[in-house]
């Protein structure tokens, strides 16, 4: 799609992001344009309102928006924006762990971590019963009763919680999703 190096001129940290995220230059450019579109007041960064507008119809919209912001931060700049989106790139089949290169954002493990953090809002490394109930309530809205919610959460914890501490830690989470095709379901197919 043309000379990538020069067209990335307007993109903050363009070269570095190219290597880090594995996005193509063309895609990076379009994501930058998208970022600028979302940045309605041209501040150079996004606030949660800018993202919330796009996610108003998603039951867990607030959580997803939260995933873009570091704890305590109220704005997200373009590099951070792209780093989060990089989690949703399809996994490269032939990437192997060699301990030298940092793990790419779209590895199976990182995708799982991303999903785990959607559940684990207080970032204490465990999905507590309360947190699970919260997510379920968001995904189901007012369509189910409190009892139904409790029984769903109960069953889910029973199935996944192997060390019986009434919470699901990351390893337990990963184990319960062993056979799921994470790559396919946590990836967005880009048109190049």
């Amino acid at each position: 799609m043309g000379s990538s190096r020069s067209s990335l001129r307007g993109v903050p940290d363009g070269q570095q992001l190219l290597q880090e995220t594995g996005f193509s230059a063309a895609l990076l450019l379009r994501l930058h344009q998208r970022f600028q579109f979302l940045d309605k007041d041209s501040r150079g960064h996004l606030r949660s309102e800018d993202l919330e507008a796009e996610l108003s119809e998603n039951p867990i919209g607030d959580r997803i928006v939260g995933a873009f912001f570091q704890p305590g931060q109220e704005t997200v700049d373009f590099p951070s924006f792209v780093r989060v989106l990089a989690h949703f790139r399809p996994t490269e089949k032939n990437w192997t762990r060699d301990g030298v290169q940092p793990e790419p954002a779209n590895s199976r493990n990182r995708k799982l971590k991303f999903a785990f953090q959607l559940y684990d809002q207080d970032r204490d490394g465990k999905i507590s019963r309360t947190e699970l109930l919260q997510v379920l309530r968001e995904m189901l809205g007012l369509q189910v009763t409190e009892e139904q919610l409790q029984s769903i959460a109960e069953r889910a914890i029973q199935e996944a919680d192997l060390d019986r501490d009434d919470a699901i830690c990351f390893d337990e989470f990963r184990k319960s999703l062993e056979k799921v095709d994470i790559d396919h379901k946590m990836s967005v197919r880009f048109l190049e």
Binding site: L31, I64, A115, L118, G141, A160, V180, D181
Partner: protein, 437 residues
């Protein structure tokens, strides 16, 4: 005297005369005559292809596979479990992937539709007439933009206004003439031809490029044609492909003149302002009309208000109560070519029409759906909803359950609710399922 009439002036007059004649002839040959005979040179489609090429209409970033919530979540689970899925629709930790992915897709690529403000598109699409986030990207695009503005307002708009004027005046004139004839077959045939011709001229006046699908389902006499409503142009679009009896309130001014002359040629149903409130009167007139099989099918937009072409609001049940066969029609405008949505609280009719006529083109698709009738044990509201769903599905529009009357308040929650409902249905089933087991 000779001081005033120098040869240059003469030449100028001659040139002007010639160009005017040429212009008018071209207009006649390429636009009006085809309109009369209902043929097309394919000029408009060529124009559309050219536009798309010039502006390099941006493709979306993401390849969207339209799968439903249920299909996807089941697929995710199937890959992760050995259980027989259909019997155990329980919550799985992987269910969140679906929502997360959809959310990220919405952030990356704006295909999530917004109900009442115009469908927002990728901002670099210069085909849309107004670009709210017009950033200076490159000289080429800026030049194109200004050139486009010039062409649209300088050339296209005057051309279209001329055509519109021609079309409307022909309509008024000819229908009044026909009104002088005796009622009979001749009158009906002529009236049909005249209506079609004038609507076709109007279609060209808007440079509307319409694709009709499934024409075998076109509405027949004694039926009611029901369509979703995005703009007043909907009428022109449908009426240029078939003859309908219109229903509406009598307006004053130009609109009223048109309405009054139309009804001379064939029986349309116009109501006085006072009569509109009287539901029984309306229903009675409608049912009298449909019972007369010699009369044209009625064209009705049950939503009652313009929706921004991404969803179909609750259909008002009046037209579904009459007991006639309903012919649903779905109209979907291509948003790449400009926004046909009329936000009546923001723009008046005239400024809306001017906007339409200074856009590049209006591209839309019309689907004629198979006729539906009210079934045993169905009341008008259920029937209306059934028709509405059929229309929404066909046009790729979102079937929503609330009244278009809420247009002025922003209510975004309901779409979220729909998702929650679908998901909860998967997990806990509906009331009936639970009581059965």
């Amino acid at each position: 005297m000779e001081l005033f009439f120098n040869p240059f002036d003469n030449l100028l007059c001659i040139l002007l005369g010639i160009s005017f004649t040429v212009w008018f002839t071209l207009l006649l040959v390429f636009i009006i005559v085809p309109a009369i005979f209902g043929v097309s040179f394919g000029i408009r489609r060529l124009y559309m292809k050219t536009l798309l090429k010039i502006f390099e209409v941006r493709a979306p970033i993401i390849a969207r596979e339209p799968t439903s919530l249920e299909e996807e979540i089941k697929e995710i689970r199937r890959s992760g479990s050995n259980k027989d899925l259909d019997s155990a629709s329980e919550f799985e930790m992987s269910d969140i992937f679906y929502f997360a992915r959809r959310g990220v897709e919405s952030i990356m690529d704006d295909e999530v539709t917004k109900r009442f403000s115009a469908e927002e598109l990728e901002s670099w699409n210069l085909l849309t007439r107004s670009n709210n986030n017009f950033h200076y990207i490159s000289l080429r695009l800026t030049v194109l933009w200004w050139l486009g503005l010039l062409i649209r307002y300088g050339i296209l708009l005057p051309l279209r206004v001329t055509l519109a004027f021609t079309g409307v005046s022909l309509l008024v004139f000819l229908t009044s003439l026909i009104g002088l004839l005796q009622n009979g077959r001749m009158k009906n045939v002529l009236s049909e031809k005249v209506h079609l011709m004038c609507y076709r001229i109007c279609v060209r006046a808007l440079t509307a490029i319409i694709t009709y699908h499934d024409s075998e389902n076109k509405p027949k006499n004694g039926g009611i044609c029901v369509a979703n409503h995005t703009s007043p142009i909907d009428v022109i679009i449908l009426a240029s492909d078939g003859c309908y009896a219109m229903v509406g309130q009598i307006h004053g001014g130009l609109m009223g003149v048109i309405q009054r002359s139309m009804v001379k040629a064939c029986p349309h149903i116009w109501f006085e302002r006072s009569e509109v409130k009287d539901r029984h009167l309306v229903a009675k007139r409608l049912s009298n009309h449909v019972q007369d099989k010699s009369k044209l099918p009625i064209l009705i937009f049950p939503e009652g208000t313009c929706i921004n072409n991404t969803s179909v609001m609750m259909f008002k049940k009046g037209s579904f109560d009459i007991g006639a066969t309903v012919y649903p029609v779905a109209i979907k405008y291509d948003p790449r070519f400009g926004d046909a949505f009329w936000n009546s609280s923001k723009f008046g009719m005239v400024s809306y029409l001017l906007r339409m006529m200074s856009s590049w083109a209006i591209v839309c698709s019309v689907w004629y759906l198979p006729p539906m009738s009210r079934e045993e044990g169905e009341d008008a509201v259920q029937f209306a909803n059934r028709v509405k769903s059929a229309i929404a599905r066909k046009g790729g529009l979102v079937d929503l359950l609330w009244d278009g009357g809420l247009k002025r308040d922003k209510v975004k929650d309901t779409f979220k609710e729909e998702q929650q409902k679908l998901y909860s249905k998967m997990l806990v089933g509906t009331q009936e399922d639970r009581s059965r087991s």
